[in-house]
């Protein structure tokens, strides 16, 4: 009835590839792409759960044979919308980050954020040597 276990292994691999991209790549856009791959893997997993071997599309008609379970497909339509929205938000943020930091590499972002003073003077670097609870290097983060 189910399309065979190898499908699950393959989809599992897709998910892991997505996650691996998120972990291994510093570039924010690549991270988002990895995230999308991960999501797509999950979506496919959902759909494969509803697949009935030899079943047709779930269209009710006279004399129709067995058909795949429609509910996962409906759900995944919603999930795809959610995924697209997430991707949109993420990309928009990436663009904003590039505009304000000049880079989308996460390691560099961290360094740039620490090195350059914040635009607002009140939040600028305030070094407190030997304060009882320690000092903070470079710029504040308020």
């Amino acid at each position: 009835m189910i399309a065979g276990l190898y499908v699950y292994w393959a989809l599992f691999a897709v998910m892991l590839i997505g996650l691996y991209v998120v972990i291994s790549h510093g570039n924010l856009v690549k991270k988002l792409l990895g995230l999308t791959v991960f999501q797509v893997g999950v979506f496919l997993f959902f759909i494969s759960v509803g697949k009935v071997a030899g079943g047709s599309a779930p269209i009710i008609a006279e004399g129709a044979g067995p058909y795949s379970h429609p509910l996962p497909q409906v759900l995944i339509l919603t999930a795809i919308v959610v995924g697209v929205a997430t991707l949109a938000v993420g990309l928009a943020l990436a663009v904003r980050i590039f505009e304000s930091y000049g880079t989308v590499e996460e390691d560099e972002l961290e360094r740039v954020a620490d090195e350059q003073p914040e635009p607002n003077g009140a939040f600028g670097a305030q070094c407190v040597p030997n304060a009882p609870f320690g000092s903070e290097r470079g710029g504040g983060r308020s």
Partner: protein, 564 residues
């Protein structure tokens, strides 16, 4: 509820409030009326428990009158009457008020049927009696009183701790025979032991009693320790440990009494020694022994008060009580001397006097119990009593070499009180049956057998002969102005000295070892808290790799740990 007020002790405590309102003769009469009233109330009160109160769910029994508490209460109140007469000349409301409260609190503590009531009055005796020491109004008495109060308060705290423990373990706070198999018993025993001046816990007594006023010491000599004896007889009768504690108490003060110069301190050591006899009796715990302890306490209260009265009279008239300064006073104070001799003979257990008919009960009980080591040691201690109280007190103050001091005879009130006390000593000695009738158990003891009279007379008189032998050969230790170290050296000298030394050492250590230690601590602190700081490994904003790693690892860990 209203029968709470039937407490003779409460009569004294409440009545004391009226004293400062009166002046002169009216105050004296009122002062005398208070213990008489309490005495009348005590005699009219039937045996049994009354005055029940409920406090925070605890059942308090404020009055428990039975044969044991009655004997002690009777002695307490008679002594109060005598002490009031003795202090007839005194115009010091502070002393009167505190003395009457002290007597009342001690009496009420005797009657307490539960540990909480006992604790309340136990502490009240401590506070009220400390005022009697401070009333001497000297620097030495102030400090002695402070030490005294501190130790007495400690006893109270231990008692309260014991009460709480007993309540949590046994579920009640009744004051009954206690066992030493749980910590509550040990707490309470220690509390009683402090007030009863057990060896190494005794020094508050010799430290403070000689510093009190002449009249104050008379009051002090009556109550605190005898209250402890009563409490031990009630709570720990038949406890083996107490036999040996008692024997030790009879022995070691004897040596100190021989070399002590301050005669009231000699009496304090002697007091300690007499308490030892009673505690040994309590420890033996047979009917005869308890009877002996109670009877001896009764007689002891009278003759010890008499001795302190005599010494107080000397102090009152002469202004010093150092044996090295005194001598030959029998010419100036003949009656005081006579009464003092009666007291001394009583404490030495000379036949026909009160000590003879009571102490021998304890000795007989010890012998009857087959404890021959304890018996022999008590006999040796008895010989010692003959020395310090029987001979040293009257001899060095009233006889010995004439110091040349001349003064007037003691005031009439003092003489009357001493006379009454001496009469009681002789009366009990001659006709002990009424006292025996009061004792907790039926008495079949006959003091006046030929054998007993001969042995006791031999003991006393040969000891006296030894004294005259040694004294005339010049072998008796001379009276020397000195301070003799006792257990109090621990807290009066060693502890303060140790504290000073330790604090100096700490200061030095701070200066030498401080900076490197501080540097080390600071670097350790930075190393351990580093990750938590805003830019430390944990406190910083985590990168997305790290966060996703975390979630993946947590997922993996959870799957490994939980899914089976």
């Amino acid at each position: 509820m209203s029968d709470v007020l039937l407490n003779p002790g409460l009569v004294l405590i409440v009545g004391a409030a009226g004293l400062p309102l009166l002046r002169g003769r009216a105050q004296q009469l009122y002062l005398l009326a208070l213990p008489l009233l309490a005495l009348a109330l005590l005699v009219r009160l039937s045996f049994g428990e009354r005055g029940r109160l409920s406090l925070f769910g605890l059942e308090l029994v404020t009055i428990r009158l039975d044969a044991l508490s009655f004997v002690f209460a009777l002695a307490f109140l008679i002594a109060a009457v005598l002490a009031v007469i003795y202090s007839w000349h005194l115009r010091d409301a502070t002393q009167h008020v505190s003395a009457v409260i002290y007597a009342g609190a001690a009496t009420a503590a005797l009657l307490a049927g539960d540990l909480i009531t006992l604790f309340v009055f136990w502490e009240l005796t401590a506070v009220a009696s400390a005022v009697l020491i401070w009333a001497r109004r000297s620097q030495a008495s102030y400090r002695a009183g402070l030490r005294y109060l501190l130790i007495q308060a400690l006893s109270g705290v231990l008692l309260l701790g014991g009460a709480v423990l007993q309540h949590s373990v046994e579920g009640h706070i009744r004051f009954e025979l206690m066992a030493l198999d749980n910590p509550a018993g040990w707490f309470v025993l220690l509390a009683f032991g402090i007030k009863g001046a057990f060896p190494f816990l005794h020094n508050w007594l010799q430290d403070s009693y000689p510093e009190a006023t002449p009249t104050g010491t008379v009051w002090l000599s009556v109550y605190t320790t005898k209250l402890a004896v009563y409490a031990l007889a009630r709570g720990f009768a038949g406890t083996e440990l107490l036999v040996w504690v008692g024997v030790a108490m009879t022995l070691f003060p004897v040596f100190y009494a021989v070399i002590e110069n301050d005669l009231r301190r000699v009496l304090s050591y002697s007091l300690n020694n007499q308490i030892g006899f009673m505690i040994a009796g309590v420890g033996v715990g047979t009917e005869l022994a308890i009877n002996g302890a109670a009877a001896h306490a009764f007689a002891h209260i009278i003759y010890k008060a008499l001795l302190f009265m005599a010494m107080g009279a000397v102090l009152h008239r002469v202004g010093t009580i150092k044996a090295s300064e005194l001598g030959g006073l029998h010419k100036s104070m003949p009656w005081t001397a006579r009464f003092c001799i009666v007291g001394s003979a009583s404490i030495s257990a000379v036949p026909l006097l009160s000590g003879f008919v009571t102490k021998s009960m304890i000795l007989a009980a010890v012998a009857e119990d087959g404890r021959w080591v304890a018996f022999a040691l008590l006999l040796i201690a008895s010989a010692g009593v003959v020395d310090h109280s029987g001979i040293k007190i009257p001899f060095f103050s009233f006889f010995a070499h004439d110091s040349g001091l001349r003064c007037r005879e003691a005031p009439a009130g003092m003489l009357l009180a001493m006379g009454l006390a001496a009469a009681l000593c002789i009366g009990i000695g001659l006709y002990p049956q009424p006292l025996y009738d009061l004792l907790p158990y039926a008495v079949e003891y006959v003091p006046y057998t030929a054998s007993h009279v001969i042995t006791q007379a031999q003991l006393v008189l040969f000891a006296a002969a030894a004294f005259s032998f040694l004294y005339r050969r010049g072998l008796y230790p001379p009276e020397i102005r000195s301070v003799n170290l006792d257990a109090d050296v621990v807290y009066r000298r060693a502890l303060p000295y140790g504290w000073h030394t330790a604090s100096r050492a700490v200061e030095r250590l701070r200066l030498t070892a401080g900076p490197p230690l501080r540097r080390r601590a600071a670097s350790t602190w930075v190393a351990t808290t580093g990750p938590l700081r805003p830019n430390g490994r944990l406190g910083t904003a985590w990168s997305t790799h790290l966060m996703v790693w975390c979630i993946v690892l947590l997922l993996g860990a959870l799957i490994l740990l939980t899914v089976r």
